[in-house]
Subunit: 292 residues, 2 copies
């Protein structure tokens, strides 16, 4: 069995190194410092790692696609910065550190997010070793998943969802957009970049959807059961904000059952990929068992 | 001599039609309504028109590049939405209407900006009739000019510039980034898309820099001399915010002289392009004479 901890450490350090080198190049203003503060705050680097693992799963070389992989982390980071703003979730801590606007002020935090989002697309176009038409397909996919049909749309649904009882279908749509779409962008991009067949690309896209679902359910469970000191952020926020979650809609026990069922289904979807997909599966299991 | 009014009306209506059709497709949340509110608020469509005019000036067909042209307007619009936020310039009116956050709330305005910026890149990849490697070059150029080395960086400099006396060099850098870079992105993109030679592309890029400078100086003059009712926004804001401008640093008279000199230099740069560049020149003159 693979050493997942070593694998994650190695892959995330590739992303960290890339971001450390790339952010701030040609800086003309303090916004690069604000961008770097959040981008180098030591996240899990989950989306880039998933992209690389998906490329590996179809027989490609995942680490060849560090530009696109890191761009996804930049998009994820921008979304966290804007999400933490006082007018949004109003969070003071993230990844155990003060949030961007607490350190740099609200205006600079808006711009740091804008800068990361914009530069993510710049970084994507710097990817070498990919046919230009494939690269355009990837940019289109990522923009679509990150935009109003995906992540941004999900955030907008989330704003309207406070103090409102969602139906299970509404909540599913919200999460598929808010967090699921970027997982799909990551894993599907990896499958395409790695040279997967149409069937493989669709198979991994299905895995991505299940992965996103399991991730979200576990997130909702952690918000109830998690330890703020371990998570580096406050627990119990969903209840405080009166948000519909898998726990509030189905009960804690049922949510745990759903998470496990989803994980098992994800494992089934990966079966045809054999050993090459072991990292994807181990990451999914690891996230399911996570404490933060 | 060309009928500039008819030309601008025709070209801006192409952009309006495109945006009207494109924004809101596949909408899952109210953010698309907020995006459309600002994107369809009847701006000058200056950046898309400049892109198309630049393509025409090198012998291409400008109207073939409506996707990229409109994407630039989406980026411009997002920057206005975020710029108007309470934590930034805190403006209540824009283009004679309530600003985005006054209508949709601050959180939705942040997301509307994010959505427009993200979807702009999606729309760029939908451009037909351009070689994929050229399209990647264009996306790279636009992202760079709109990001922390360009517009976002300029905005960040602007935040730090309030209540601070800038040197002429500092103010020049601020404006080159904040407004100049996107003009360069527009005009240079048009020159590339239109199939211009390296010399033509560089010539029009020089014109773009001069255009941006003349635009900014005129903007500073209008803020002093303009009529709020005609402009659709408050005058005297620069003085109120204690910002360094071409007027405050050089005097009103000197600023007017600089604007005219810059316009004349821009005309010189366009001379080798002959009649094909007439629209670019007429737009520059029109902007110089504008009242809003």
């Amino acid at each position: 069995m693979m050493d997942l901890k070593a694998y994650l450490a190695e892959r995330s350090s590739l992303v960290n190194d890339f971001l450390k080198k790339r952010i701030g190049v040609g800086a003309i203003s303090p916004v690069d410092e604000a961008m770097a503060y959040s981008a180098l705050a030591g996240g899990k680097r989950l989306r880039p790692i998933l992209l690389m693992a998906a490329a590996d799963a179809v027989g490609g070389k995942g680490t060849d696609f560090l530009c696109v992989a890191s761009a996804l982390e930049m998009i994820h980071t921008y979304s966290l910065i804007h999400d933490d703003l006082p007018e949004m979730d109003n969070d003071d801590y993230r990844r155990g550190r003060l949030t961007n606007h607490k350190v740099f002020g609200q205006a600079m935090a808006v711009l740091a997010g804008d800068g990361l989002l914009t530069q993510a697309f710049e970084v994507m176009t710097e990817q070498q070793g990919v046919a230009p038409d494939t690269m355009l397909e990837i940019i289109h996919l990522i923009a679509r998943c990150a935009g109003p049909e995906g992540m941004v749309g999900g955030q907008a649904l989330d704003i309207g969802a406070e103090n409102k009882h969602l139906t299970p279908a509404e909540m599913k749509q919200l999460h598929e957009a808010k967090t699921g779409a970027l997982f799909i962008a990551s894993i599907r991009s990896g499958a395409i970049l790695g040279g997967g067949s149409k069937e493989e690309i669709n198979g991994l896209t299905k895995f991505a959807a299940l992965f996103g679902l399991a991730f979200q359910i576990t997130d909702d469970i952690l918000d109830v059961e998690g330890d703020a000191r371990i998570m580096g952020k406050n627990a119990g926020m969903d209840e405080k904000m009166n948000k519909s979650t898998y726990v509030s809609l189905y009960s804690l026990e049922k949510a745990k059952e759903m998470a496990l069922d989803t994980l098992n289904e994800a494992e089934e979807v990966l079966r045809p990929f054999g050993e090459k997909a072991e990292p994807l599966l181990e990451i999914a299991k690891h996230l399911y068992n996570r404490k933060k």
